[in-house]
């Protein structure tokens, strides 16, 4: 376990040493979304009866920030280690692929949660957030961060150059998160796009997470939980399989 714990600690320290870039910056960016969208839409949109638009928006933004940062942590750490070559330090060590996986997974979740917490706390300045079902909040925060931490590990191992990783970020992660109901309820969409949204796992992450705060959601939280858990299991399995086979790491 010492091996796992050391790698985990190293991964946390890595982003902790550059907090401005890894935590403060994403919190600020998210707050800018909050300021602008709530300013423009607060008086015009009421998604759920009795829930102000800003209060509706905050959980979505918190979830989006968690996902993007969990992804960013594992993917950028891996690609940096690969490109600079220092990945050899833990490839030479007697770490099992399970230890390797858990260390990267948990460190990414930690960063996701810290950024998410920062956004949520700052969000309280702008909106009253309910705490209808706190356990759902915790569950969706952890499970969704884990999913994107896995996607980050997969992308970090697969990518050979920074621009390939930026491609995943810009063409997969950002569209998935933006088109998931962060800023709107999918019930406001035309039928076709509503149906498409149901194939986006991020939709369930945000919908279930929001249910934890406001007690209302577009779909049953149990269904959302099932989708998110299924994603977490499938992606963990895939990541473990990649690590075990040494894909792109041990030639």
């Amino acid at each position: 376990m010492t091996g796992f714990f050391t790698l985990f600690r190293k991964e946390v320290l890595r982003f902790w040493k550059v907090l401005m870039q890894t935590v403060a910056a994403p919190i600020l960016t998210t707050l800018l979304y909050l300021l602008i969208f709530s300013h423009v839409l607060e008086a015009h949109v009421e998604v759920y009866p009795g829930v102000a638009y800003t209060a509706f928006l905050v959980p979505g933004l918190v979830m989006m920030a968690m996902l993007q940062n969990a992804f960013a942590n594992s993917s950028s750490s891996l690609i940096q280690s690969k490109i600079s070559g220092n990945i050899v330090f833990f490839l030479l060590a007697p770490l099992s692929y399970l230890e390797f996986f858990l260390a990267y997974l948990l460190a990414a979740i930690v960063r996701g949660l810290i950024v998410g917490l920062g956004v949520a706390l700052s969000g309280l300045l702008f909106a009253d957030l309910g705490l209808a079902h706190p356990l759902w909040i915790v569950f969706f925060a952890l499970a969704a961060s884990a999913v994107f931490a896995c996607v980050g590990i997969i992308a970090g191992i697969w990518a050979e150059k920074f621009d390939q990783l930026a491609g995943v970020q810009n063409f997969v992660i950002v569209p998935l998160t933006f088109l998931s109901g962060v800023f709107y309820s999918i019930h406001s969409l035309p039928a076709f796009w509503q149906a498409v949204s149901h194939y986006n796992p991020v939709f369930y992450m945000i919908d279930g997470f929001r249910y934890g705060f406001h007690g209302v959601a577009d779909v049953d939280p149990w269904r959302s939980a099932a989708v998110v858990l299924a994603c977490a299991f499938i992606l963990s399995g895939l990541t473990l399989q990649m690590l075990r086979s040494g894909y792109k790491l041990r030639h």
């Binding site: 091996g3 280690s81 007697p94 041990r250």
Partner: protein, 302 residues
């Protein structure tokens, strides 16, 4: 007693390139062993397979009797590798780097040994400096320290002195020699053949993925048929009778090659007969570089 390192039929193909073509090698515990060969001969591939960084296409490799694939955790605990590339993690200091490396090997309280390593490698006053701020030579020493945090019985150094100044090279070899005296097995690759000749008891020469020479260093030097003498003559003109022996001319001196020193007397007699005076004379001992060049150019062609 299992061999420190054992390779059996080790083969590695990268696409169409055959980097290793069935290498068999056994290195006993406590040996100081050199692996020599030109660039692209397969030295780094061989070391990478041993370290688990590259997977062999066929054949087996083991460290202290532990297979590097099936029993990788035990094999890696017994192996310390100093990689050829100057790699480092710019987020951390020297001490952090060494603490993490200890942790990866499952060691929790390793401070005494880390301090000792820093001392032996002249890094004590750099312990809390960020890796980014170190010179190339210092980074190289940190890599050596990293390879040794878990006191591995088998130490592999992949060209550890490339681009390293003379003083550091001396410090490094002193330390590695001391480790060897304490019983550590050392496998070294280097381009500096005089280093291998001075340090290593046994040498393997690798060419195009095959071992083309494997013997004690002393035997390789002895087996080298070339005996050479350098003659400085007055007048500086080589008698015709000696021309078949001539292999080179340097700054007015003639370099002659003999099969054995028994020929020497006849040679000198011919000089005298030609009425030439000997002004300077010296015997050139064979060195590993000559042996290496002869083997690489000659036999074992792929």
């Amino acid at each position: 007693m299992p061999a420190a390192i054992r390779l059996q039929g080790l083969t590695k193909r990268f696409g169409r390139l055959e980097a290793l073509r069935g290498v068999n090698l056994e290195i006993a515990e406590g040996e100081f062993f050199a692996l020599l060969g030109p660039n692209g001969a397969g030295k780094t591939t061989l070391i990478s397979i041993l370290a688990g960084l590259v997977r062999a296409t066929a054949g087996e490799a083991s460290v202290m009797g532990h297979d590097v694939v099936r029993d990788y955790r035990e094999a890696r605990r017994r192996l310390g590798v100093v990689p050829q590339e100057l790699v480092f993690d710019p987020f951390f200091t020297v001490r952090e780097t060494l603490e993490f490396q200890s942790g990866y090997f499952g060691l929790k309280h390793n401070d005494d040994w880390i301090d000792a390593l820093l001392h032996h490698l002249n890094l004590t006053d750099k312990a809390d400096t960020n890796m980014r701020r170190l010179s190339g030579g210092m980074k190289r020493r940190v890599l050596v320290a990293q390879a040794l945090v878990h006191k591995p019985p088998v130490i592999v150094l992949d060209e550890p002195t490339a681009g390293v100044d003379v003083e550091l090279r001396q410090t490094l070899w002193q330390f590695i020699r001391e480790l060897n005296r304490q019983g550590h097995t050392i496998l070294l690759t280097t381009h500096y053949l005089e280093e291998a000749e001075e340090l290593c008891e046994r040498v393997a020469m690798l060419k195009a993925g095959r071992i083309v020479a494997l013997d004690r260093t002393a035997n390789l030097l002895r087996a080298d048929a070339q005996r050479r003498v350098e003659l400085r003559l007055k007048p500086a003109r080589l008698p015709d009778a000696l021309k078949p022996h001539l292999v080179g001319e340097q700054a007015g001196a003639f370099l002659l090659s003999l099969h054995d020193f028994g020929e020497l007397e006849g040679l000198l007699a011919k000089v005298r007969e030609a009425g030439v005076t000997i002004e300077g004379f010296c015997v050139r001992e064979p060195d590993l570089e000559q042996v290496f060049l002869r083997i690489m150019q000659g036999e074992g062609q792929a």
